[in-house]
């Protein structure tokens, strides 16, 4: 399966000034977006997606992956600087990171975060490079029925693990499936489900849907929050003054190495959690923080030590590469960000699937190289501009929200020059806002929307092969039966064992424990 010519081709694609520039821009913007509280990784990638139209494939991947990895690290800057995680992924970093800042060790905390993020991220990328091709090779043996059940299993996992409430996750997936059917029948091409609107014949555009759900809805939410309260910008400014002074101590190599156990825990948990559809970086970071705290009591995690920052940040960043494994191996994005990266590939005319390793091996190798290179850029840019980004995190939301709204409108129009796309984006902005208020996760919607045509095609093909009989069509091999049983088991178990609720409670428990320890210390 390894194609040396494709590897050479990919080196030519990646090691150009153009790709390096976009990778650097991606990381630079990503760390900044991550550092700004309220702007999540998916918001950033969604806003940048229209830009990828104008780039070649390597440039587009560089921009999107750089932004993703940069934003994952960037979240820790505001978490450490002023106890406000840039994104939920960095919430666990606040526990020790901010305490270190209060002790005058903010610089050390930030460097610990950067080095542990980059270490875990790089090593997990190696795991991806080793695992994804093997899994894709296995996936190539799948027929339409196996592929159909695999997608059902992914949807079941997404619904079960995306949030506290299984039915809400599944409902988001069902909405995604419905929206994915708007437009034309994928096999015959006949118009359907267009509500009598001719412009919907081409279906709902990926870019306006993504920008609406991930960017506009969040800006609407934050705009409303500002009208109700918040003078966050002012508070932040006050706390920033004495941070990163010249007298602050840095991080020695010995200190960095002393966190190897925490980084190992983060790497293991992050890599595993990243590969599972639905869980994501937030869960990985809390899990690895919790595990490190329990298994390494002598490190006194939770009292403002490097080990806590290293565990949380390595767990968080180790999900970055592995989240792409289901996308590359099966064509099924495992997370919202993987869906966005899949979207960027689709916009470049490349359908993510196991056949990518045969048809576009150069692109796959380029993606692998970019995954690794992005860590180097993250290290250099994060190290050089941390202070600048910490300041950026203090940009007041009343300036940020209208600016992002303008970018969302231009981005949704610029993707295809279709004025209706702006309306679609605004509609999904309000829709996404309503979803979030009701606690319905967005990721299953976007992911199911992306795989809906593939699911329909495979299911219909499976039935067609069996001459129109459903049972032999869908249950024609032990593997399809196993996958079906797994999908059913995931749904039943998630309902009975309340798995997501337990994960959610674990995060809250961690926060409460830390708060209790703090108050106990204060009373002493």
């Amino acid at each position: 399966m390894f194609q040396p010519e494709a590897l050479l081709e990919s080196l030519h694609l990646v090691f150009t000034l153009n790709t390096m520039m976009w990778l650097a821009i991606g990381v630079f913007v990503g760390v900044g977006l991550g550092a700004i509280p309220g702007l999540t990784t998916s918001t950033g990638v969604a806003l940048m997606l229209p830009l990828t139209f104008t780039l070649n494939i390597a440039g587009a991947l560089g921009l999107v992956i750089g932004l993703y990895k940069g934003a994952l690290f960037g979240g820790s800057i505001s978490a450490i600087s002023f106890a406000t995680p840039g994104a939920p992924d960095s919430a666990a970093t606040v526990f020790d990171g901010y305490k270190m800042t209060q002790k005058g060790k903010g610089r050390k905390a930030l460097l610990t975060s950067l080095y542990s993020s980059v270490t875990a991220d790089s090593l997990s990328d190696v795991v991806v490079i080793l695992i994804a091709p093997a899994m894709a090779l296995a996936a190539l043996q799948f027929g339409p029925s196996e592929r159909t059940w695999l997608m059902f299993l992914a949807i079941a996992l997404l619904g079960a693990l995306s949030g506290r409430h299984v039915a809400k996750g599944m409902m988001a997936a069902a909405i995604g499936l419905f929206i994915g059917t708007i437009g034309s029948d994928p096999i015959a091409g006949a118009a359907r489900n267009t509500f009598g609107q001719g412009w919907l014949r081409d279906g709902v555009g990926l870019v306006p849907l993504i920008i609406g759900i991930f960017a506009m809805s969040r800006m609407i939410e934050q705009g409303i929050e500002i009208t109700q309260e918040s003078k966050l910008g002012k508070k932040v400014k006050g706390q920033m003054a004495d941070l990163f002074g010249k007298d602050q101590e840095g991080l020695t190599f010995r200190e960095y190495l002393s966190n190897w156990r925490e980084m190992g825990i983060g790497l293991g948990i992050g890599t595993f959690v990243g590969m599972l559809p639905g869980l994501g970086a937030t869960v990985a970071s809390f899990l690895s923080y919790g595990v490190a705290k329990r298994f390494l009591p002598h490190k006194k995690i939770g009292t403002g030590v490097m080990a806590g920052v290293a565990a949380a940040e390595s767990g968080n960043n180790a999900t970055a590469g592995p989240t792409l494994v289901p996308l590359l191996a099966f064509g099924i994005p495992g997370s919202a960000t993987a869906a966005l990266i899949g979207g960027a590939l689709l916009l470049q005319g490349i359908t993510p699937s196991p056949r990518m390793f045969e048809l576009h091996a150069d692109v796959v190798y380029a993606l692998f190289i970019i995954l690794i290179l992005a860590n180097v850029f993250n290290l250099v840019i994060g190290r050089g501009f941390a202070f600048f980004y910490a300041k950026l995190g203090a940009v007041p939301k009343p300036i940020l929200v209208p600016t992002i709204m303008v970018l969302a409108i231009i981005g949704s129009y610029g993707a295809s020059g279709n004025p209706y796309d702006v309306g679609v984006m605004l509609f999904f902005g309000v829709f996404g806002f309503a979803m979030r208020k009701f606690g319905v996760p967005e990721a299953p919607l976007v992911i199911t929307f992306l795989i809906a045509p593939m699911l329909e095609e495979n299911l219909r093909r499976a039935i067609l092969i069996s001459g129109g009989d459903w049972v032999p069509g869908l249950f024609n091999s032990p593997l399809s039966l196993t996958l079906m049983a797994l999908a059913v088991a995931v749904l039943i178990l998630s309902y009975r064992m309340k798995f997501s609720e337990k994960l959610d409670d674990m995060q809250h428990q961690e926060m409460e424990e830390t708060a209790e320890e703090d108050s106990a210390k204060k009373s002493q």
Partner: protein
Amino acid sequence: MSAGRNVAHWLRTNQGVGVLIAIAAALLFYYLWQQDWYHRVQRDRFSLGFFPGLGVVAIFVCAVAITVDQWRKEVAADMATVGWLDLGWALLFSGAGYILFQMMELLGLPLAATIFLFLLMTLLGVRPWYLAAGIGVGVAIIVFVLFSVLGIRLPGGFFPLLGI
């Protein structure tokens, strides 16, 4: 608690919202069922409406599950505080976005975006007003130059009324 308050509280629970979504899904399915295209059979014997219908039925089933499962009496954290005013704000922001787009086609991106940014920043509390205006002009120009350089299609152009 009065009956009115009881109903208002129930509407915020998972069960209340689930019932509303189930009704909406049922109405949507009825609408789809009434369409001619829904029953048109394709060469592979699937009707054109099978998959859209499957999506709506799945939404309905999940909504029903929300109304009867163990979390049915819970109120989602953000639902507890949400009010009609929030929906009003959401529609206002969205409407403002639509007006901005229309204005861009008429006045061009820099001018329309400056007006939009100035008004929204002022509404959200940026003071003094000339700071909002200054930031508005700056951001609009940066966005225009950046997107133009990148070759991304922009609504309107620089100043369409002057043909630029």
